[in-house]
C-alpha cells in the first residue's frame, strides 16, 4: 500500500478510529467473554442500532438515540436476569427480538432513500468525522480509565459474582457498570464498524485472547493488540481489495480468532506417552 494515502485526513481519521475502536471494544469484550455475557452484548448492539435508526427517522443525532437505547436495554436486561423471574436466555431473547423489530419498524417508517440508515448496518470507518472521532476517543479514555481504576472489583465479579457480593464488593453496581460500558462502547463504534458488525469486534479479539492465557491482565493486553490489528489490517484489506471496511475488519478479527483457537495451549491434550512418562 502506498504511504501517500496516509496523508489524507479521512485515512488518518480511520486509523485513529481503528485504534480507539480496537482498544475499547477489546477491553469491554474481555469482560463480556469472561462473564459469559455474549448474548447480552448482541442484544445491546441491536438496541443501539434501533436507537440510531429512531434518531435518523425523527431527525436527531443517531448517536444520541443509540446511546439512549443501548443504556435502556442494559437497564432492562440487568434486573430481568438478576431477579430470575424469567430464564436469562428468555428475557434477553425477548428484548433482542423487540429491538430488532423496532429497528426494522423505524427503517420502514423512514421516508425517502435510506442510504444513511443502511450505512449504520455495516458502518464505514472511512467516513468517520472529527466529531465521531472525539466521541470515540473520549469513550476509549473513559472505558480504559474505569477498567484500570476498578480492576480489582471487576476481577472479583468475573471470579464469581456471589463471592464478590459476599466479601463486601458492590458487585451489582460493577455488573451494571459493565453492561452500560458495553452500551456506550457500541454507540461510540457504531458509525465506524456498523450496527450488525460491531459485536464481532467486541467478541472476537477477546475470545481469541481467552484461548491464549490464564492471566486476566495478559488477556486484556492480547485482546487490545488483536482488536487494533483487526481494525488496521481490515482497513488495509478494505483499501487494497476495495471491500466494505466494517466487513473486512470483522472478517480479519474472525481469522485471528480461528488462528488463536487452532494454536491455543488450552486445547492441548496430553498424549499417552507424556502421561506414561509423567507417571
Amino acid at each position: 500500500m502506498g504511504t501517500s494515502i496516509l496523508q489524507y485526513q479521512f485515512m488518518q481519521n480511520a486509523i485513529l478510529a481503528g485504534l480507539c475502536g480496537g482498544i475499547t471494544c477489546s477491553v469491554v469484550g474481555v469482560f463480556v467473554v469472561t462473564m459469559h455475557l455474549s448474548f447480552i452484548g448482541v442484544c445491546i448492539a441491536h438496541a443501539a442500532f434501533a436507537g440510531a435508526l429512531l434518531g435518523l427517522w425523527l431527525g436527531f443525532n443517531p448517536l444520541i438515540g443509540a446511546l439512549l437505547f443501548s443504556l435502556a436495554s442494559a437497564a432492562i436486561i440487568g434486573p430481568m436476569t438478576d431477579r430470575g423471574e424469567l430464564n436469562p436466555d428468555t428475557s434477553i431473547g425477548i428484548v433482542f427480538s423487540l429491538m430488532l423489530g423496532l429497528a426494522f419498524l423505524f427503517m420502514g417508517l423512514m421516508p425517502g432513500a435510506r442510504t444513511e440508515a443502511l450505512s449504520l448496518f455495516w458502518g464505514s470507518i472511512l467516513t468517520v468525522t472529527r466529531q465521531d472521532l472525539v466521541f470515540l476517543a473520549v469513550t476509549t479514555a473513559a472505558i480504559v480509565g474505569l477498567a484500570v481504576i476498578f480492576y480489582k472489583e471487576i476481577q472479583a465479579v468475573i471470579c464469581h459474582r456471589e463471592v464478590a457480593l459476599a466479601v463486601g464488593i458492590p458487585a451489582t453496581v460493577v455488573f451494571y457498570g459493565l453492561l452500560f460500558s458495553t452500551g456506550v462502547t457500541i454507540t461510540a463504534s457504531l458509525q465506524s464498524i456498523g450496527g450488525l458488525l460491531i459485536y464481532s469486534l467486541i467478541l472476537n479479539p477477546a475470545a481469541a485472547a481467552y484461548q491464549l492465557t490464564y492471566s486476566l491482565k495478559r488477556m486484556l493486553l492480547i485482546a487490545i493488540a488483536f482488536g487494533i490489528i483487526s481494525c488496521w489490517a481490515g482497513l488495509a484489506a478494505s483499501y487494497l481489495l476495495d471491500t466494505p471496511s466494517g466487513a473486512s475488519i470483522v472478517i480479519t478479527s474472525s481469522v485471528i480468532f480461528g488462528l488463536a483457537t487452532a494454536f491455543s495451549p488450552k486445547r492441548k491434550v496430553k498424549r499417552w506417552r507424556q502421561v506414561r512418562l509423567a507417571g
Partner: protein
C-alpha cells in the same frame, strides 16, 4: 448487646410464593461454634444469607456485630463475615489463578481506589500455606478439584479476617478424604482464631467435637436446638428427616 454477636427476632423471608424462613429467632454468642442441620428446603442457607445481609427480611429484625441489618449496611457488615458456599462450577479457562482468587477476600475491606499491598499478598501466601494450597497458588482456579476449591474458598474467607465465619455445606459434592480434610481445617481455624462459626451440613458424622450447639431446622423454622449429644439421637433425627436415621453417638475427632 454484651457477648451476643448475632440476634435474630421473628425473621420471615419469602421467595415469591415460598416462605423460606418462618418466624426464626436466634441468639449467638461470640466464639460459639454452631452446627445447623435439617432436610433440604428447611431454610438453612436462607438463615445464613440473612446473617450476611444478602437475604431480605419481610418481617422481623436481625442484628449482626451490634448493627441492625437494614438493607443499606449489609455491604459493610459482609466485609467482617467470611462466607464459604457450596462448590461452584467454574469455567476451567477462567483467567484467574488461586492466589488472585484468595486475594478477592481482601478487596471488600480494602475499599475502592486502593490496591493490595505486599503485606496483603504475603498474608495470602501464608493463608494458602496454612490450608495446604501453597503449591497450587499459581494454578487457574477452574483447574481445581472440588476439595481444593473449597480449601481456596476457606483461604479467601480467612484473608478477610472475619469476625463471623459462615459455612454453607462446605463438604457437599466432594469425596470423603477431602471432606475430612476440610472439616479438620475448619476445626483448626476455630481453635486458632476463636471465630463465631455457623456450619450448615448434611453430614452428621462430620460435625466437629467443639460444636457447642446444634440447631435443627425444618420447614423454615428452628425445630429444636441444644447440645450435640442431646440432638444427635435416633428418635430426634428420624423425626427431623421423617425417615429412619441412625444416631451418631460419637463425633469423630478430626483434628490431631
Amino acid at each position: 448487646m454484651d457477648n451476643t454477636v448475632i440476634k435474630i427476632q421473628d425473621a420471615v423471608v419469602s421467595y415469591r410464593e415460598d416462605v423460606a424462613l418462618q418466624g426464626v429467632s436466634l441468639e449467638v454468642r461470640k466464639g460459639e461454634f454452631i452446627g445447623i442441620i435439617g432436610p433440604n428446603g428447611a431454610g438453612k442457607t436462607t438463615l445464613l444469607t440473612v446473617l450476611n445481609g444478602l437475604g431480605k427480611l419481610i418481617h422481623g429484625q436481625a442484628w449482626v456485630l451490634g448493627s441492625q441489618l437494614n438493607g443499606r449496611n449489609g455491604i459493610n457488615l459482609r466485609k467482617c463475615i467470611g462466607y464459604v458456599a457450596q462448590v461452584h462450577s467454574i469455567d476451567p479457562r477462567l483467567p484467574i489463578n488461586v492466589r488472585e482468587t484468595v486475594m478477592v477476600g481482601c478487596y471488600g475491606r480494602l475499599g475502592l481506589f486502593r490496591w493490595p499491598t505486599r503485606a496483603q499478598w504475603e498474608a495470602v501466601d501464608n493463608v494458602l500455606e496454612m490450608v495446604g494450597m501453597a503449591h497450587l497458588s499459581r494454578r487457574p482456579i477452574g483447574h481445581l478439584s472440588g476439595g481444593e476449591y473449597q480449601k481456596a474458598a476457606i483461604a479467601r474467607a480467612l484473608v478477610q479476617q472475619p469476625e463471623i465465619f459462615l459455612l454453607d455445606e462446605p463438604t457437599a459434592s466432594i469425596d470423603p478424604k477431602a471432606q475430612r480434610e476440610i472439616m479438620s481445617l475448619i476445626q483448626l481455624i476455630h481453635k486458632e482464631y476463636h471465630m463465631t462459626t455457623l456450619l450448615v451440613t448434611h453430614d452428621l458424622k462430620q460435625l466437629p467435637p467443639m460444636c457447642h450447639r446444634l440447631i435443627l431446622m425444618k420447614e423454615g423454622k428452628i425445630w429444636k436446638q441444644g447440645s450435640p449429644e442431646s440432638m444427635l439421637r435416633e428418635d430426634v433425627l428420624s423425626q427431623l428427616y421423617e425417615a429412619p436415621v441412625a444416631a451418631t453417638n460419637e463425633i469423630a475427632p478430626l483434628c490431631s
